[in-house]
Symmetry: C2
Subunit: 203 residues, 2 copies
């Protein structure tokens, strides 16, 4: 008899995914073995294949989750902003949201950024599209702000985007909760990117 999909397997599936993210992050794609992932999830290697039919499907799921969480969070945060928000406010919210998300989903974010270059090409190409979509969201924030005259007209916004994303993604590598708050980091970053390091001209 046909039964509705039961919920007991979902908890195991989640444990497997979490374990996979951690192991992929620490060991890379090839270095992450199914046996270690299974062990971290409290299973034996063979049992993984009940939930994911191959290692490639596992890494693909990890990449999906890491990227989609980031995109979804940014979309939601921007949508929650009042319509008359300044470009600076939008940029600051984007900073905070990005860092908050990649810290909260640390295992997935680090796994994604560290392992992306090592994954089989088929999978990488597939996820590059999602990455590009995310880049487009940032491009929109920056160019709109420039068109409104809130950002310096002479600034190269493509370079700005690459600088910002490089700096923000790097936070996942060094940020340790407890030492500094996410708010401190993002507001500090925003201050530099918006106002620069140079001391104001003395009059």
């Amino acid at each position: 008899m046909m039964t509705k999909p039961l919920a007991k397997s979902a908890v195991s599936q989640q444990r497997v995914l979490d374990a996979a993210a951690r192991v992929f992050r620490d060991c890379g794609y090839a270095g992450a073995t199914m046996r270690v992932i299974a062990d971290q999830a409290g299973l034996k290697a063979g049992s993984l294949y009940y939930h994911y039919k191959s290692k490639d499907e596992l890494i693909s799921a990890v990449l999906d989750l890491g990227m989609n969480a980031t995109i979804g969070a940014l979309k939601a945060a921007l949508a929650a902003l009042p319509a008359d928000a300044t470009a600076r406010q939008r940029l600051e919210v984007a900073f905070r949201t990005h860092v908050t998300t990649i810290i909260a989903n640390g295992d997935y974010s680090l796994a994604t950024s560290r392992v992306f270059g090592q994954v089989p090409e088929v999978i990488r190409v597939q996820h590059e599209k999602v990455r590009d979509l995310y880049g487009l969201m940032w491009r929109e924030i920056l160019t709109t702000g420039q068109q409104r005259g809130e950002f310096r007209a002479t600034a190269n916004m493509t370079l700005a985007r690459l600088l910002i994303l490089g700096a923000l993604n790097w936070t996942a590598e060094w940020f340790k909760p407890g030492t500094r708050s996410i708010e401190d980091v993002t507001s500090g970053f925003a201050a530099i990117v918006m106002d620069g390091l140079a001391a104001p001209d003395q009059l």
Copy 2:
């Protein structure tokens, strides 16, 4: 009889190292196999062990070379600067030097940054010291500039350093020679970091 070390082996050793950097960059630490590295170097797997006595020694050599090239280049560039150079000039030179080096040594730089988190702990700890040394050089540039009053007193220089190094290291991932010049990238980055994105107040 004892003979002086001959030079014929050095060329092979270099070919092995170059091949290793490429393969480590593309496949990660565990994914890079000795057989593929040997093949890229025009040798058979067993022959690698004449030059390096283990895979760990190989990756260690790649990490060394990647990091030391960057450190050496920055040291030299700063030393070549006139003694009365402004902090802004020093920072711009550091930008340019860092990017130029990691682009020139692309295989080693990317291998280093991608593989660092996957390497056996003994090796990683060893190279963390060298990394810290490099961070210290940047810290010096930034705090000195701040003490001289050339950089905003309110700016958090630790965050500035993390932002800058994150952004600069990320260039190795996206920079494609031909499209944009290194000079364009570094001067664009420097403009943002020094002067900020915000449009000047209208009076």
